[in-house]
């Protein structure tokens, strides 16, 4: 035990004497949460709108006012012909153009039918989809309001309810994602680099010649990163609850259990990487390319897994973050218990067992 404690103390010295790295590791979750929460928001707000309307009448004005009043849109001006619309799109002055047909209000009154054309800049298709959806909503709301007196005419009004995330906040989606990414980065990348550094410096040789048990070496190598990950987990939770107002709907204990399991998987991954590489650079490349990219792209953090081609869907099964993010969403956002994430927990447990077994076998006690 004395061996183990001396060694764990040394590992903490290594990390905490390297002030820059500690700062990066502790600041990273904060920066990521802020980036995703405010800068890289997937919500579409203040989309610029230009209006083309030949007859300025009551209905047109009302609709424009409603559009302008919504937080999603900003009416930046009116134009007079289609050339000006083209110019507005080209210069980036507008993302959406609304074209009211001639005599809009009159047509609506007399024939009960009138047309608005919506033209969107769809260079960013997701954003275009979202604000088109918002604009159509605003228009149909207006329609319902004016048609209410003569109801009973067989009009179907769908009432949409957004479950678990009524305000459609993207924070509900990316908080679990950031959790999944940070843990992998700190545990897997940093652990593998820390072990490989001993190989590079030649100190691993000294350890192998000493009576130090390999298991102790591994345990003490991963312990500081385990502590750092738990601190980061706490930081992300505090930020998401108090700054982003994403509540923890389910049990915190369940969330903690799943997270500890995921940290364990990530540490085992780091260990495995360290057994197959001999330089810090290689370890960094493998964790960077081999872990970060799948976590970003194949975990469902940014792109929905359901939309992927079958091959990528298959690959995504091997990305631990996918199961973790799913479990976090279920517990944190939907508020369900551990019982609802048994599959995720099972897969993560299996991954942990396989990874630990392989890396312990491969961790070389002898230099060859």
């Amino acid at each position: 035990m004395k061996q183990l404690f001396s060694f764990i103390r040394k590992e903490f010295h290594h990390i905490f004497r390297d002030k820059a790295t500690v700062m990066i590791l502790l600041m990273m979750p904060i920066i990521q949460i802020i980036l995703f929460g405010f800068a890289l928001s997937q919500e579409v707000k203040n989309t610029k709108v230009v209006v083309l309307s030949t007859t300025s009448d009551e209905a047109t004005r009302r609709i424009i006012n409603r559009i302008d009043a919504s937080e999603y849109f900003d009416v930046v001006g009116t134009v007079h012909n289609s050339d000006e619309i083209d110019a507005a799109f080209r210069d980036g002055k507008a993302k959406l153009a609304m074209i009211f047909e001639d005599h809009f209000s009159e047509n609506l009154k007399h024939t009960g039918k009138s047309h608005i054309q919506l033209i969107a800049d769809a260079t960013d298709p997701n954003a275009a989809n979202s604000f088109m959806f918002y604009a159509s909503n605003i228009i149909s709301n207006y329609q319902q309001d004016i048609s209410q007196p003569q109801s009973g005419g067989g009009m179907i009004v769908p009432e949409v309810k957004m479950l678990y995330n009524p305000q459609m906040l993207s924070a509900f989606n990316f908080v679990p994602g950031v959790l999944g990414m940070i843990m992998i980065l700190i545990c897997a990348m940093m652990t593998s680099i820390a072990i490989v550094r001993e190989k590079e410096m030649g100190t691993m040789e000294i350890l192998l010649v000493s009576p130090m048990k390999p298991m102790y070496t591994i345990l003490s190598k991963i312990s500081p990163y385990f502590v750092l990950s738990v601190i980061n987990f706490a930081t992300i939770m505090l930020l998401s609850v108090f700054v982003l107002k994403v509540p923890i709907a389910g049990s915190f204990i369940s969330l903690l259990i799943v997270s500890l399991l995921y940290i364990f998987v990530a540490l085992a991954l780091g260990l495995l990487i360290s057994t197959v590489t001999n330089s810090q650079l290689a370890a960094m490349m493998i964790s960077g390319m081999g872990l970060m990219i799948p976590v970003m792209l194949l975990s469902g953090m940014i792109f929905p897994i359901e939309n992927m081609p079958a091959f990528l869907r298959f690959i995504s099964n091997f990305v631990p973050a996918r199961w973790y993010i799913d479990a976090v969403k279920t517990i944190m956002i939907k508020g369900l218990g551990l019982g609802a994430v048994l599959k995720d927990v099972g897969v993560l447990l299996l991954m942990a067992t396989v990874l630990v077994t392989i890396s312990l076998k491969k961790f070389k006690v002898r230099l060859e």
Binding site: K2, S6, T203
Partner: protein, 250 residues
């Protein structure tokens, strides 16, 4: 002048092959307690491989051997407790303080805190290192680091200490001082097994073996070797033998 001729390292027909390549070819020798045994050879002659087998870092392909009375095949864990090791990279933890390195390695070898503290105090006085005690190792000059690395490798009073080119990159005066520490260690009954390619250092050894292409081509005291090869100094002895090498330096 030294203690009874007790054998500490005994090796018979030791061989190590990597695929078709025979790195160490059928070597046999004995080292007595308190002896300074020089292990010489050009780069790629098989010195490091041979030494690693003795330290339990590498399993021999064939042959027999004991170190500190333990079998190199069956009891590598017991060997590890009885030896010290200093590699050519004089591997200390650069971001730890001087005393923290001593404490760490003391802890790894199972020494208790009181003994570690007492021995650290003694060592700092002996090396005149009291001002450096709280400094990070990376801030020390190379000669200091080497002295410290050697002190760490014998901190737990091993029976044998293996030194793999311990004095690379320092001037002859610093080397000479380093060798005074080695003599001091042998006076405490520690056997020293040292590889080097400085021929002036070979003269300081009690006995010297010279490896060429994985085989031991000569083994005797420096004086006897010089007579046998009719040479003025160890460098000439080495040159005569090394010329026979067929392997290209790696």
């Amino acid at each position: 002048m030294r203690r009874a001729m007790e054998t500490v390292i005994k090796v018979e027909n030791l061989t190590k092959r990597f695929g078709n390549f025979t790195a160490v070819d059928n070597i046999s020798f004995e080292v007595k307690r308190g002896e300074i045994f020089g292990f010489l050879g050009a780069n790629g002659a098989g010195k490091t491989t041979a030494m690693r087998m003795l330290c339990g870092l590498s399993i021999p392909t064939e042959g027999k051997g004991t170190v500190a009375g333990y079998d190199i095949f069956k009891q590598p864990e017991l060997i590890k407790k009885s030896i010290g090791y200093m590699s050519q990279k004089f591997s200390m933890y650069e971001d730890l303080k001087v005393w923290e390195n001593l404490e760490l390695f003391g802890g790894i070898y199972g020494m208790n805190d009181k003994v570690i503290k007492q021995k650290t105090d003694e060592l700092m006085i002996k090396l005149n290192f009291e001002d450096e005690r709280d400094k990070l190792v990376k801030s020390l000059p190379l000669g200091f680091k080497q002295k410290l690395a050697f002190s760490v490798s014998i901190f737990h009073q091993p029976q044998v200490v293996f030194l793999d080119e311990p004095t690379g990159g320092v001037d002859p005066i610093t080397r000479r001082r380093f060798w005074e520490m080695i003599y001091d260690a042998t006076a405490q009954g520690i056997t020293v097994f040292v590889t080097t390619h400085y021929m002036d250092e070979a003269e300081y050894c009690d006995r010297v073996s010279i490896m060429v292409d994985g085989r031991i081509e000569a083994l005797d005291s420096p004086d006897n070797l010089k007579k046998q090869f009719n040479a003025k100094n160890m460098d000439e002895v080495f040159q005569q033998l090394a010329r026979k090498a067929k392997r290209v330096d790696s």
